[in-house]
Amino acid sequence: MSAMGDWIGFVWGWLATHGDIIIIQTVNGIVTGMILALIASGLTLIFGIMDVVNFAHGELFMLGAYVGVVVLSISGSFWLALVLSTLVVALIGAALQITTLRPLVGRDPLNTILATFGISLVLQNYALWQFGPVPRKLDEPITGQFVLFYLAYPWYRLLIALLSGAIIGGLYLFLKHGTYGIWIRATTQDRVMAQAMGIPVPWVHTGVFAIGAGMAAASGVLFGPLIGINHAMGLDWVLKAFIVVVVGGMGNLGGSIAASIFVSLLEAYAAIVVSPAQAVIVSFVVLILTLLFRPTGLFVPTPK
């Protein structure tokens, strides 16, 4: 009994002295989680509707950041850069889908995996050729900071979390209401029957790929100011996005979002006790445990 009391006392004591860092890491975890959710939503949406594992998603993220850099340097407006980059990369995504993925419909999934992998190599090397190996900087639109305990915390980080949430919320409303949302959900559930009901399924696929590409681009621009922009910036983030897509249940939008925040929070807390580089291991541990014990995803009811 007294041992137990000691334990509780110890934990309370620790929490009391480390409360500030816990709150800071909670904020950090949520901010990173929202960005990750934005990247992962596009990935999971594309997988859910057309069973395509898009290995080029990270490169669309990277391309978005570069288009953002170019538009920002010409126009001087970050917000214009965000909007234009989203639209341009969505169009590029649509063109890529029509030329490389549409002809592969109905083939072995390995074909589409190789195709998207090929796209990713082409885009990465194009960026290297066009923009060179030196990382570019994207300036944040607001530079103000507020004090979080002993830390000067940038307002921009909170703004990213809010904007990511707003974009994901917009996607949810789009899917939930309106004809195109019904078309997308019907196609996800039963592609053949959707087509028999007159829904132009090949164009629904193109549209969804474009939306996913646009969301990747938006996250690239939003996140650009916090990380350096180079041709390989997509790799880390898309790897993490793949992890949360699997942990959340492949193709399950809500699950991916929950998993993004869950994994990012765990990593942020782990970074309190170990170094941030080691904290990354947490997401792999979560991935392995999920694959072992709940391969359909942490955030879906166990299928009957």
Partner: protein, 245 residues
């Protein structure tokens, strides 16, 4: 017994169609036709290729030989969504309603087409809900939560939202209670009165003979026989021969 006259101008004509699933040759030259507003039955034992015939007409399977005509125009090779917009609707044997969509959203997959005004949509829904009050009550419920009979009603109702010229109806009464079966029969009559043609695949012979004007009999991937429904009775030798009932 001579074959009955077929309509002079066919709405749908299937001519010598051969269809494969991978390497397995399932349809070996199917020919049949359905006139405007005509209700035609397609009977045969399990596995003779009735559903495959409907899927081929709907453009869900591509025939390796032969062609399908709609209003005199070749439609072989056109994607299913174009055929649906042209006026061919499909009610598959396993119903395939969108289980996670609400009843209303299921209907909207067919209703939200270009050129349909809001007023027209409302008119179609009002008419539909008059026939299917159960669907009206459950309009915001997920399709997957409906009973088997209600799902069948929804599958037919959803097809009707396309305002089709023909409905390909695959075993609509399969597994339904007698009361539901007579309701399906009523709907077929209503559609017939509205001038919608139907190609009906059924196991229920009495219902088929009552609802249809003409009947085709299939065996091993071909149409073997063709008769006026009024000339057949449930225990005809022909019916025995092709259905073994």
């Amino acid at each position: 017994m001579s074959a009955p006259p077929t309509p002079a101008e066919a709405l749908v004509a299937v001519e010598d169609v051969h269809t494969f699933y991978g390497k397995s040759h399932v349809l070996h030259g199917v020919s049949l036709c359905v006139g405007r507003g005509e209700v035609v039955g397609l009977l045969g034992r399990n596995g003779v290729g009735k559903s495959t015939t409907l899927k081929t007409i709907m453009g869900l399977l591509g025939p390796s030989r032969g062609k399908v005509l709609f209003e005199g125009q070749a439609i072989t090779g056109l994607p299913a969504h174009k055929l649906a917009r042209m006026g061919i609707a499909y009610v598959p044997e396993d119903r395939r309603i969108f289980k996670l969509l609400t009843v209303m959203e299921n209907l909207r997959t067919g209703l939200d087409r270009r050129g349909v005004t809001e007023a027209r949509k409302q008119e179609l829904l009002d008419k539909l809900f008059a026939y299917f009050p159960r669907l009206a009550e459950r309009r915001s419920q997920a399709g997957g939560t409906l009973s088997g009979g209600e799902q069948q009603m929804l599958a037919i109702a959803r097809a009707m939202m396309l305002e089709p010229k023909i409905i390909l109806l695959d075993e609509p009464t399969e597994g339904l209670m007698p009361r539901m079966v007579s309701q399906i029969k009523e709907i077929v009559e209503v559609l017939h009165r509205d001038g919608v043609a139907i190609l009906l695949v059924e196991q229920n012979v009495p219902l088929t003979l009552e609802a249809c004007q003409r009947v085709y009999f299939m065996e091993k991937g071909v149409v073997r026989h063709h008769a006026l429904a009024s000339e057949l009775t449930v225990d005809d030798a022909v019916v025995h021969q092709y259905l073994g009932v």
